[in-house]
């Protein structure tokens, strides 16, 4: 297990993601910042992983289903020692493995995503394999809230509960904003907790930027050993940069020029 100061890690990876997305002139910074704390707690405190043995059999598995927020995952992996930090500079570059959506060719990435609604089913398959083989590892999958529009997720939610996949933990980054508008104005998810519970999952909710709460929920929070688990993490899209927070605009807008400098100032120099 990697023991890291998750708060410090979150600050570092937000700065990395900011530079990566600025240099690539790419999008999704709001989605990246939204999950910076979740990923930092997962990799810093929760996951049983070893960057020296990235494929060791008993490792915990983590799948990023919202693959568009991959810059910050690459940054976390770099800071955790899976590859040198300076490789992050190749994000989006010709010939680079650091694609704009999560790429399993990068050391430490379990599964490639990009099209939404895929990873939960795959994670269910991994968790089923663990159940059959009586393996102790856990499987985590991080979904976006907008992604829960995809019907394939609900097929997987049915399946995981039916097969009592208790080693499976889904985390939903519930920032309440999707690509073009709010969740409420697009396809309302509420009552969101009730939906998961009705499908047979144990549900916890927390502040997705409170590291203590995240750690408590993900480490020992779930009590039911006969069903899959979901943590609904209430987050703020663009968290960490005031003018990006809670805006639809910063799903796609790329931070350039003065906006980049202002964002960097707010995040602080790590």
């Amino acid at each position: 297990m990697i023991q890291k100061n998750s708060v410090g890690l979150a600050q570092k990876v937000r700065l990395h993601a900011l530079s990566m997305i600025r240099n690539a002139k790419s999008s999704h910074i709001g989605s990246n910042f939204s999950i910076a704390d979740i990923l930092s707690v997962l990799y810093g405190k929760i996951l049983n992983i070893d960057p020296k043995q990235p494929k060791k059999e008993d490792r915990d598995r983590f799948l990023l289903s919202k693959g568009h927020a991959t810059a910050i995952l690459y940054a976390v992996l770099a800071e955790c020692g899976f590859f040198p930090v300076n490789e992050l500079k190749t994000f989006y570059q010709a010939g680079s493995l650091f694609l704009g959506h999560t790429n399993c060719k990068v050391c430490g990435i379990e599964f490639s995503t990009g099209s939404l609604g895929h990873a939960l089913s795959v994670a269910a398959g991994i968790a089923l394999a663990a159940q059959w083989r009586k393996k102790a590892f856990r499987t985590f999958v991080l979904l976006s809230d907008g992604e829960c529009d995809e019907g394939s997720n609900w097929e997987a939610i049915l399946f995981a509960a039916h097969h009592r996949l208790s080693s499976l933990t889904a985390i939903v980054d519930y920032n309440k904003i999707q690509s073009l508008d709010t969740i409420a104005n697009t396809l309302a998810l509420e009552p969101f907790r009730d939906k998961w519970e009705a499908f047979g999952w144990e549900v916890l909710e927390c502040d997705g930027h409170n590291h203590k709460q995240l750690e408590q929920c993900l480490k020992l929070g779930f009590k039911n050993k006969h069903c899959p688990h979901v943590l609904i993490a209430h987050t703020v899209k663009g968290k960490g940069v005031s003018f990006m927070e809670n805006t639809v605009l910063w799903h796609y807008r790329s931070p350039q020029g003065e906006e980049y400098e202002a964002a960097k100032d707010e995040l602080g120099y790590a």
């Binding site: 399993c104 379990e110 599964f111 490639s112 995503t113 990009g114 099209s115 609604g117 895929h118 990873a119 939960l120 089913s121 795959v122 994670a123 269910a124 398959g125 991994i126 968790a127 089923l128 394999a129 663990a130 059959w132 083989r133 019907g151 394939s152 097929e155 997987a156 049915l158 399946f159 039916h162």
Partner: protein, 304 residues
């Protein structure tokens, strides 16, 4: 074909606990013995093919050899993106078994006609595409699937074909359907359910023809095809599949790429949905896939 395949799969699964069969809630009466003998190597994923395919990928990434099973387009087109992104990109050991190829489900209508699957699936990187014509090819196919750890799509006819147990076949070859003939100038190539139709055509043509079945549509048997087709006067393809991008197109691409100059006549299904009822045979005839039409068309075009 279907029953033979599942029985051979059952026999393999009895010896290899890594083999898992997942059905999308189909296979009534067909999967019973497998399920009874191998309850721990069987999952009914419900009517949820996207999840079935993602789930299969997850199991495969953990070392299982997974077979997904459904009829027609349900395990192929319904979950095409899961096949592409999850199975193929990750080179996962998932074999997709589609039953009732072509017009196998006849009067059940277009939802059950698997008539574009070869075109679509052979375009996916890493995916092998198989379409056996008889039990002998099913047997070698099972062996090939067990010795290959990557993704594959298998297109199976619903009903048994005429027994042709005497021939020797290989999975990566062009397999002659009947006895060899002398001075062959015309080759009929086919796959899946149309081998007997091709043989009947062959017997009525006024050329020295031979029929070959090709159970592996992707990758095509490169060297064997070259040897077979080079220097021939005419090549004909027959398939129960749309003419747009299917096996016939693959053979056309092959001839172009290899610089083999020979007329190619392709027979298959027209670029339209079938909106009327009928048995599989009746619908084939409705689409022009009958002996007299194919023979007459070849003769007319050959004389031009």
């Amino acid at each position: 074909m279907r029953d033979a395949f599942i029985d051979l799969l059952r026999q393999s699964a009895l010896k290899d606990p890594r083999i898992i069969l997942i059905t999308g809630d189909l296979g009534f009466g067909v999967l019973d013995r497998y399920r009874a003998e191998l309850p721990h190597q069987f999952i009914n994923a419900g009517i949820a093919e996207q999840n079935m395919t993602g789930l299969a990928t997850g199991l495969a990434l953990e070392g299982y050899r997974v077979f997904t099973y459904s009829i027609g387009n349900f395990c192929s087109l319904r979950c095409l993106e899961q096949i592409r992104n999850d199975v193929c990109y990750h080179n996962a050991n998932v074999k997709i078994i589609s039953i009732g190829s072509g017009l196998g489900y006849g009067a059940l209508g277009m939802s059950h006609h698997a008539t574009e699957d070869v075109s679509i699936l052979r375009a996916l990187p890493n995916l092998h595409v198989y379409s056996p014509s008889d039990l002998s090819e099913v047997k070698v196919l099972i062996g090939a699937l067990m010795s290959y750890d990557g993704p594959a799509y298998v297109r199976l006819g619903k009903v048994a074909l005429a027994s042709n147990s005497v021939r020797t076949v290989a999975i990566n070859d062009c397999n002659r359907w009947r006895e060899p003939r002398l001075d062959v100038s015309c080759i009929l190539l086919t796959h899946g359910t149309t081998a007997t139709l091709a043989q009947s055509v062959c017997e009525q043509l006024p050329f020295n023809c031979e029929v070959y079945t090709i159970p592996c549509i992707k990758p095509l048997p490169d060297n064997a095809l070259y040897t077979l087709l080079k220097g021939k006067r005419l090549v004909v393809t027959i398939e129960e599949h749309t003419l747009l991008g299917g096996f016939g197109s693959a053979i056309g691409e092959y001839l172009l790429d290899k610089g083999i100059t020979v007329p190619l006549y392709r027979f298959g299904l027209p670029d339209q949905f079938i909106t009327v009822g009928g048995t599989s045979d009746e619908l084939r005839k409705f689409c022009g896939l009958e002996v007299s039409n194919v023979v007459a068309t070849i003769q007319r075009r050959f004389q031009q």
